[in-house]
């Protein structure tokens, strides 16, 4: 049923449809509305779960470690400072192979304090062992929610996962969305049947101490599970499409890439603006297309090679910067292509930091820059100036 709803409400409803046993969340702008809606569902008896008001994000994820090990389907959501506070627990959850699912609302990290959107927070936990998918719009976040439970809880995967969504832009927007039907969700999401649980009838030790003769094996097995997730993400996307009629292309999606000379690569909500820009530029005869990254971890190297192989120039647009060396997606994309015969100049743009608007005019500038790179070669791999840095700072 198509209905206009606030993004946070729609996401809370998608979570409800996945029937989590335990929800443990801590409020932080701009994620708060998700938390509030979930508590209201519980208060109304619309969501039959245990809801715990924890003392911090650190405790929220810690409590889900216990709940998940006890065999519960678990949910949390956070952003920015909250995600940073969880850092230690993130690695712990993935190392213990607990299939916790989180909605990560993307927001800048302090200092300076900013409550506005960029993607520094989730890029900052890239290596924590979690599956990370980025969504373009509210509908995609909703649709990914049951898919992530399906993927994380798969006995061959057993890895926590997060869907990343841009703060405010998606959490606070009102737009028409198709609400999920809980009965249909059951078709793609079987009940959680954990492999190992805390049970006095069959006592097991969780979270042991591993000396150097064992540690690598634990990481190796995690690595392999993420590799398997590469296949499963695509399969579950297809299955979802068969059931709900909405598919997203799996690991990546492409837009007007046939015959494109200039390929823009990006993720998150900015993709919507880029698509509009591509349409305009195409009208002007510019051969530009878009590759949208959906799965960032696991990183879809093979799929990307295929998607980028015929481009004359690639421009990566992302809302994060690795102070000291470029930005995360840019370096990952360059890494993916390095040991191949694909030789294409790649430049990167740290856009929309701390909530600065990325509008059509910026995308145009990026494409102009890419055209120049195509004709004259690459000068600067990464650009700030293009986003109108205050001249006093230059």
């Amino acid at each position: 049923m198509m209905r206009v709803a606030e993004g946070s409400y729609a996401i809370a409803d998608a979570v409800r449809c996945c029937s989590p046993d335990v929800v443990s969340v801590y409020p932080i702008t701009p994620q708060t509305h998700i938390v509030e809606h979930l508590s209201q569902f519980v208060a109304n008896g619309e969501l039959d779960c245990e809801y715990i008001n924890v003392d911090s994000e650190f405790s929220s994820l810690s409590s889900l470690i216990g709940a998940s090990a006890a065999g519960a389907r678990t949910y949390t959501s956070t952003t920015s400072q909250g995600l940073a506070l969880m850092f230690e627990v993130l690695y712990n959850a993935s190392g213990m192979r607990l299939p916790i699912v989180m909605t990560t609302v993307n927001r800048a990290l302090s200092a300076p304090l900013s409550i506005w959107n960029d993607q520094q927070d989730s890029f900052g936990v890239r290596d924590s062992g979690w599956i990370q998918l980025y969504a373009e719009n509210v509908q995609e976040v909703m649709d990914l929610t049951p898919q992530l439970y399906r993927i994380s809880e798969d006995p061959e995967i057993l890895t926590p996962s997060m869907v990343c969504m841009d703060g405010y832009i998606l959490t606070h927007v009102y737009e028409p969305v198709e609400f999920l039907d809980p009965e249909l969700v059951k078709e793609i999401l079987p009940p959680f049947s954990p492999v190992n649980v805390l049970d006095p009838e069959d006592p097991k030790t969780f979270g042991a101490f591993a000396d150097p003769s064992w540690f690598t094996e634990f990481r190796y097995l995690q690595y392999k599970a993420q590799e398997r997730a590469l296949d499963l993400i695509g399969k579950v996307d297809k299955q979802f499409e068969e059931t709900f009629g909405r598919g997203y292309g799996g690991l990546i999606d492409t837009y007007r890439t046939d015959d494109a000379e200039i390929l823009l690569v990006s993720l998150g909500s900015i993709v919507g603006t880029i698509k509009d820009a591509v349409d305009e530029l195409r009208k002007e005869g510019i051969k530009v297309g878009l590759v949208k990254i959906r799965s960032y971890r696991p990183f879809p190297v093979e799929t990307l090679k295929e998607a980028l192989k015929d481009a004359s120039v690639v421009a990566v647009i992302e809302k994060d910067v690795s102070v000291g060396y470029q930005s995360a997606l840019l370096t990952d994309i360059k890494g993916a292509l390095y040991n191949t015969s694909i030789r294409v100049p790649i430049s990167g743009f740290a856009a929309g930091l701390g909530g600065r608007d990325v509008a059509m005019k910026q995308i145009r500038k990026i494409v102009e820059n890419a055209s120049r790179v195509k004709d004259e070669g690459l000068e600067l791999e990464t650009e700030f100036e293009i986003f109108d840095v205050n001249p006093e700072c230059l």
Partner: protein
């Protein structure tokens, strides 16, 4: 007697008080129990992968989060309609008094039905005897070393049980491995009472305190007999019982047996420090009515 639920073969030091705490606690709780622990000596010595001493389900996540982990276990079991399982946290004093206190406060505040056991060896032992909030005044540790300008730790031991009482914890007690019957009874009582419970158990550390071989239980006894460690219990904020001390001994009897206090008997002015510790013990005797 039932077989111990804490198997031998763990890597704790010979003469460590902590495994005795664990055995007594598990004896009292029985096999229908789940334990969450913190990083520290207990976790490192009892679960060297792929071995484990634990014959009950056991989980360790981080140094500062066992109270939160246990909270999650409790509500998951509540969702499954299983409220018949004993749920324990067993954590060190560093985890409890310092880095994990936010998580513990949350656990008390939310009223989870969990018994939180702190095995109290009065320092960060696993990382090499650094001071914790539980380290007693004038004890020498590797981060409160004695020197020409310092007589060791300058801060008195944090009153963690009082913090638990102030949270409205249903049951709060202190115990000692020198009084195993009392210790087991307190664990059982905490499990019978609904709501959060806190039990702090004195656990001598031969390496960190440096006392003579074979003296572990004697240490646990002396600390009680000197009134340095009063044994008491609170139910719903009311003091309901104390372990009386028949022959109160001077604190020197305890202090002189430990390397961490030996400077008090050598340095100039040491007698003042000892008198200060005696005053703490006397105040305990008075406050809890240990003597009568």
């Amino acid at each position: 007697m039932q077989e111990s639920l804490f198997a031998p073969g763990h890597r704790a030091c010979a003469g460590c008080g902590m495994p005795i705490v664990i055995k007594l606690v598990l004896d009292a709780a029985g096999p229908n129990t789940i334990v969450a622990s913190s990083t520290g000596c207990l976790e490192v010595t009892s679960t060297p992968f792929p071995e484990s001493s634990w014959k009950v389900p056991w989980i360790h996540s981080l140094f500062e989060n066992p109270a939160s982990v246990a909270s999650g276990i409790e509500i998951a079991f509540k969702k499954f309609g299983r409220t018949d399982i004993n749920l324990l946290v067993i954590a060190g004093d560093g985890s409890t008094f310092d880095i994990g206190i936010g998580s513990i406060s949350g656990m008390f505040d939310r009223g989870h039905n969990i018994t939180y056991i702190c095995y109290d060896n009065e320092a960060y032992m696993n990382t090499g005897v650094q001071r914790s909030g539980s380290t007693p005044i004038y004890a020498s540790t590797t981060t409160t070393p004695i020197g020409t300008q310092s007589p060791g730790n300058l801060v008195r031991k944090k009153d963690m049980p009082a913090i638990a009482v102030a949270h409205g914890a249903s049951y709060v007690a202190t115990a000692s491995i020198a009084y195993p019957v009392d210790l087991r009874r307190k664990v059982k009582r905490s499990l019978e009472i609904k709501g959060p419970a806190y039990i702090q158990i004195n656990a001598p550390c031969i390496t960190g305190w440096s006392y003579a071989d074979g003296d572990t239980i004697e240490q646990a006894k002396l600390v009680v007999e000197t009134c340095i460690c009063p044994l008491y219990e609170y139910v719903d904020g009311e003091l309901v019982g104390v372990k009386k001390v028949r022959n109160k001994r001077p604190v020197e009897d305890y202090l002189k047996t430990q390397g961490r206090y030996k400077h008090l008997f050598r340095a100039e002015g040491g007698d003042v420090y000892i008198a200060n510790i005696q005053a703490i013990a006397d105040r305990n005797a008075e406050k809890f009515g240990l003597l009568d």
